[in-house]
Amino acid sequence: MEKSVLIAGFGGQGVMSIGKMLGYAASDAGKYASFYPSYGAEQRGGTANCTVIISDEEIGSPAVSKLDMLIAMNQPSFDKFAKKVKKGGSIIVNSSLVTSKVEDSDIAAFYVPANDIANDLGSPKVANIVILGAYIGLSGALSEEDGKAIIKKMLGSKADLLDMNYQAFDKGLQAVK
């Protein structure tokens, strides 16, 4: 089993941290994982994306031509990367910011209004945790427990935020069920 996902969005959307959390979780779960980031030359205002691969075996290319999954956090990312998803793959669309729909019928689409959910929870910052939940709900590469464990680990001393993050995670999971 080898699963690739590309996560893309504006600089400030926590795209890189979702990717890293997936990697840490996979690592903790005893799997192989790679996280490959791509930045523009400009420090800000550009877009950011990363590719994460989780696998039971040694990983070949960390930057694949055809994706199992795309997480599109904003419209430009959707426009740029939707065509890189392979037939049978899926796209998680942050429908709070992306207005387009997935048109290819061979690709599964999951619309998760991550920013709205996060705002409803009272913390715009957890939009990326919502997405983390959605990814785990869908990909099968990691378990729910893996996801929660890594959230706990990442928060570290800020345990007071744990509940809120778990909630965001659960909302994400449910959104794709």
């Binding site: 030359a41 400009e42 420090q43 800000r44």
Partner: protein, 246 residues
């Protein structure tokens, strides 16, 4: 009503600079572009731009530009002006570029008194590569390669290029301004006008250091950066005209 402030005529009409919000490079560009406009130099201008964030402006400014290797703008500008005296030559450089790797080229262009205008953006760090310590970083300021802050014992004090260059015989105008508020920006504009005029008149070398902010790597809002400059940076880098040979 009449337009009393508008964009420089030959900069991009469709998009802003590539810099982060509040970055001093944008302000610096505006000021020297304004000076070129004022003296009607646009069609003679050759801009030697650096490796560093300052290079992002290159498609925006719409003057003939040549991209220097990191630190070498001083040598490139020197030679272009010697061989093409009809060109108006600006060298635009960051502090990593001008005061670290390019120290030799900077000092020797100044010492030879080349007829060029040097605009030096001192933002107290290596902006483009992600906020490493520069020779100009403040004591106590943190940087990705000085994570507990610059210390006098380990790193020495912030390097004052303008003062050092002012000890040389050849330079005609050496000054330091700041870009963090309108009052200072107006003074800087005057200084740049003066430096540009000097080359127009064929009188020699000028060096304008501009204390600038890098909100992204300073990890402060632009407004906080402005305060930091007032409270801290200007103590290490006093503003003033260090040399002005009539």
């Amino acid at each position: 009503m009449e337009k009393i402030y508008e964009r420089v005529s030959f900069t991009s009409k469709t998009s802003p600079t590539g810099y982060c919000p509040g970055c001093g490079h944008g302000t610096a560009h505006k000021l020297f572009a304004r000076a070129l406009e004022h003296f009607n130099l646009r069609d003679k201008t050759v801009l030697v731009y650096p490796v560093g964030c300052g290079g992002l402006a290159m498609p925006w400014i719409n003057v003939n530009v040549i991209g220097a290797a990191h630190g070498r703008a001083g040598a490139i500008a020197t030679a272009i002006k010697r061989a093409n005296p009809e060109n108006f030559v600006i060298s635009y450089q960051g502090d990593g570029d001008l005061a670290a790797i390019g120290t030799a080229e900077t000092i020797h262009a100044a010492n030879r008194g080349e007829s060029i205008t040097v605009i030096f953006i001192n933002n107290a760090n290596f902006g483009m590569t992600g906020g490493q310590m520069a020779p100009t970083t403040m004591l106590g300021q943190t940087a990705t390669t000085a994570q507990s802050g610059r210390s006098l014992e380990e790193h020495g004090a912030p390097l004052r290029m303008a003062e050092m260059i002012a000890t040389l015989d050849a330079p005609k105008y050496v000054a330091r301004f700041a870009l963090h508020d309108a009052k200072n920006i107006l003074k800087a504009q005057q200084g740049i006008m003066k430096a540009v005029e000097l080359q127009v008149k064929g009188e020699g070398y000028s060096f304008v250091e501009l204390i600038s902010m890098c909100p992204t790597n300073w990890k402060k809002s632009p407004a906080e950066c402005a305060n930091y400059i007032d409270e801290t940076v200007l103590k290490a880098f006093p503003l003033g005209v260090f040399k002005d040979v009539k």
